[in-house]
Symmetry: none
Amino acid sequence: MSAVAKKKESASADASSFAKSQLRALVERIERLEEEKKALADDIREVYGEAKANGFDTKALRAVVRMRGQEPAERQEFEAIVELYRDALGIGGN
Amino acid sequence: MSAVAKKKESASADASSFAKSQLRALVERIERLEEEKKALADDIREVYGEAKANGFDTKALRAVVRMRGQEPAERQEFEAIVELYRDALGIGGN
Amino acid sequence: MSAVAKKKESASADASSFAKSQLRALVERIERLEEEKKALADDIREVYGEAKANGFDTKALRAVVRMRGQEPAERQEFEAIVELYRDALGIGGN
Amino acid sequence: MSAVAKKKESASADASSFAKSQLRALVERIERLEEEKKALADDIREVYGEAKANGFDTKALRAVVRMRGQEPAERQEFEAIVELYRDALGIGGN
DNA sequence: CCGGGAGGAGAGGTCC
DNA sequence: GGACCTCTCCTCCCGG
């Protein structure tokens, strides 16, 4: 028979203890994962740095990567709307 | 904390007093200007909100405003580089 | 061309005209506000220049201004954390 | 066409080929890293889901995690402010 | 579908 | 004058 079942008093204490240790575990797992995520972000930044060192235009490079990661359809629609607005403003107003 | 500041004041009262009031005036002016700047930023955000409420695509609208605020030459060059990169990757890779 | 078609066209034309003038008005307002915002940024830069001319360390001055702006928020957050821990522990929840 | 001109052409072609493969390699590396990063983001989301399933308030939990990450930086800044005020007062120089 | 929060891109400032 | 780096703003995505 467990201590919890035996003592009603400690029941709530145990519950709160349990919640605390659970919270701790969750926060640790999250922080560990975020650490890894951050490391990857750093790696990516490094690659862009490398690209820059090799004479690539990182802004354009980012734009290309972004384009590749998105549906052609939505991209086209966006461009169409931009054109529409530019026309409405007199297209020379760029 | 206050004890430290107090001690400092006593140490070189006159020179430090003058510097202090000057500093205060400068900080106040800066904070006032930044406040106004922030208010304008809010106004701008509001206008975009209004645009959205009237059915405009705010993302496209922002793009158009950005375009209008920049030299055509640099814009074209940027687009050219992007095209170059896309070609190099096989232009279908969008 | 039928009268109906014509009416439709006019209607569209009107709607589009309206949208056009709306768009123009919005863009003008935005650009005006951004102009003012930029002017304020210039003013702020001027004040820092003045401070520097009077022997202040502008980098430190900027840091001071920044911190003054952040302190209240930090304090609030710091005091809010206890409450948040409580929530995170599920005390109020299920 | 002169030999010199030809040589130049070949050189350009080679350079461009090289740039192309370099570009491809860079983009591939970036996309691979972003994929991994996204996977970690998914893992993190999963952990929050698990937390929620165990009765935790995920919003509060997120806030707690965020604050834990910010606290050290804030503390440093807060303790640095005295030094900064001294500098801002021009004590050390201009 | 909207608002808020997290992440990324761009602008500005500092240092070399 | 250029590169790095911080900071603000914009965009995207999740949760409600």
